[in-house]
Amino acid sequence: MRADRRFNLAGLGVFAALLLLWELYSRAGGVESYLPPPSAALKALTEPNVARALFGHLAGTLGRFLGGYLLAAALAVAAGVVLGYSRFAYSVSEVIIELLRPMPSVAIIPVAILCLGIGDAMMIAVTIYAAAWPILLNTIDGVRNLDRTLVDTGRTFGLGRVKILWQVALPAAAPYIATGLRVSLPIALILVTTSEMVAGVNGLGFFILDEERSLRPANMYAGIVVVALLGYALNRLFVAVEARALAWKRGLQAKGEA
C-alpha cells in the first residue's frame, strides 16, 4: 500500500471511535467472558506479571521466527541459485517441486512433530519449510531471467562458474530474492504462531490460545496486541533493510513499492 506520511486525523478518529464503541458496549455488561473492554486489555499489558510473561513469550516467538526465517533464506537462496543456474539441476527437481508446492505448508506440522518431537527444533523446521518456498521460487526465477550478456561479461573478464554465480547471478537476482523474502516474512510468522498453538509450551501463539482456554480474554487480547506489534515491526524493519540493500535499484523501479 502506498505509504502516506501525512498525519491521518480522520483515520485515527474512526479508529478511536471504534475503540470507544467497543469500550462502551462491553462496559454495558454481559459480554465480559469474551469481549472485555479494550481498557482491560491495556491494563493487562501493564500488569507486571502479565508483562513479564508476555516478554518471555515474545522473546521465544521472535527467536523461533528469526531462526526459521534466516535459515530458510540462506538455504532457499543457495538452492535457488543452483537450480536457476544449472539446467540439469532444475530439470531433475522440477517435478518434485511442482508436486510439493501446492500442499499448504502447515500440513507439514504433524510430520515435524513425529520426527522432531515437540520443541523449538520442530517449530523452526516447519517455519523453514514454509518460508523457503517463496524465496526458492523467486530466486530460481531471478537467476533464470539473468541476462546472458551479464554472464558473458563475467566470462570475458575471466571469471569461472562459481565466481559468476556469486558475483553476477546472485546480485542480479537480488530484487527477485527480496520479493521472495517479503512474501515469506508473514508466512514465517504464521508458521511460528501456528506451531506454538498446536504443539508449543511457550511463545505468543501458545500464550494467546492458553489465555483463551483459561478464560482470561483480556490477557488474550493483550497477547494479540503484542504479536501485531511484532508483525508490524518486522515488516518495517524489512522495508528499511530492503531499501538500503537495493538502493541501486531505486531509479529503476517503475513504481514505488512501499
Binding site: 563475467g154 566470462r155 573478464f157 575471466g158 565466481k163 537480488a174
Partner: protein
C-alpha cells in the same frame, strides 16, 4: 606467428523451426601483435557473432580461432570483449567506479593502486565526477564509456570492441577515439574493433577488413598507411584518407 588467427570460421544458429541461420560463412584473417585492426560491414553480416566466437563466448560451427597459438574453446585470459549491448553488460548494482573496478578485481588486483587506475580511466573517458553514480543514472553514451573504461582498466593483451562508440555523440566520439589511440600506444594492446563507420575504421586502424553479407566473408583487406600519430583534423583531411574511404565504401556497396 600472428597473435590472433581466425581460420575458415563459420557459425550457424539453430532456428526455432529447425531451420538454421548461417550467421558466418567462412571468415579468415589474422591480427598481429600490437596491431589495430578494424572490421567494417553492413549490419547483420555477423560481426557480433564473429567477436563472440573469438572471445570464446560462442562455439564456432566450423573452422578455428586461436589466440597466441592457443585454440580458443573458452574465454581466453588476457582477452576482453566490449559488448555492443553495453547497457546490458553493466552491473546495475555497482557504481561507475565499482563497474570499472570489476575487471581489476577479477584479475585479483585491489587496493589503492587498483582504485587509482580505475579513477584514471574514468577520467580518460570523460566521466570524472560520476564515480559514485549508478548505471541507470547515466545516459546511453555515458554507460558505453563505462563499459570501455572497464575493459581498458583490465589491461588485456587483446581488446575486442563491438561498435563501442555507437551511442556517444559526435564530439565525444572524436575524443574517445583519440583516448583509445593513446591507451593503445601506451599499453601496446592489440585491438580488433567493429564499426559500421568507415571513416572511424580508417582513422583508428592499421588495417581494415571489409566484410560482406551472404556469404559473410572478408571481401577485401585494406592497409591504412596513414602516418601516426593521427589527428582528427589533418588526418581526415588528407587526400589518401578520402581515397581509402571511397574505395571501402564502393567495396561495401558492391558486395551489398
Amino acid at each position: 606467428m600472428p597473435l590472433l588467427e581466425v581460420d575458415a570460421l563459420c557459425k550457424s544458429y539453430d532456428g526455432s523451426a529447425g531451420a538454421a541461420t548461417l550467421a558466418i560463412e567462412n571468415i579468415s584473417f589474422n591480427v598481429e601483435r600490437g596491431e589495430f585492426v578494424a572490421l567494417v560491414g553492413p549490419s547483420g553480416c555477423g560481426k557480433t557473432t564473429l567477436l563472440m566466437c573469438i572471445a570464446g563466448l560462442a562455439a564456432p560451427s566450423g573452422g578455428r580461432v586461436a589466440v597466441k597459438s592457443q585454440l580458443v574453446d573458452r574465454p581466453p585470459p588476457d582477452l576482453v570483449l566490449v559488448f555492443q549491448e553495453y547497457n546490458r553488460s553493466l552491473f546495475a548494482w555497482r557504481s561507475v567506479l565499482g563497474n570499472v573496478l570489476f575487471g581489476l578485481e577479477a584479475k585479483g588486483r585491489g587496493g589503492k593502486a587498483a582504485d587509482e587506475r580505475a579513477r584514471r580511466l574514468i577520467g580518460l573517458v570523460g566521466l570524472e565526477g560520476f564515480e559514485r553514480h549508478y548505471p541507470w543514472q547515466l545516459s546511453g553514451g555515458m554507460q558505453q564509456r563505462v563499459a570501455i573504461a572497464r575493459a581498458l582498466a583490465y589491461e588485456p593483451e587483446v581488446l575486442l570492441m563491438d561498435e563501442p562508440f555507437g551511442s556517444v555523440d559526435a564530439m565525444t566520439r572524436l575524443e574517445l577515439e583519440d583516448a583509445l589511440l593513446a591507451i593503445w600506444k601506451e599499453l601496446g594492446t592489440t585491438i580488433l574493433l567493429v564499426t559500421h563507420d568507415i571513416e572511424e575504421a580508417i582513422y583508428l586502424s592499421d588495417r581494415v577488413h571489409v566484410l560482406a553479407r551472404r556469404p559473410s566473408r572478408v571481401v577485401e583487406t585494406v592497409a591504412i598507411p596513414l602516418p601516426r600519430p593521427r589527428h582528427q583534423v589533418t588526418t581526415r583531411a588528407e587526400p589518401s584518407f578520402m581515397e581509402l574511404r571511397n574505395r571501402i565504401y564502393r567495396r561495401i556497396a558492391d558486395a551489398g
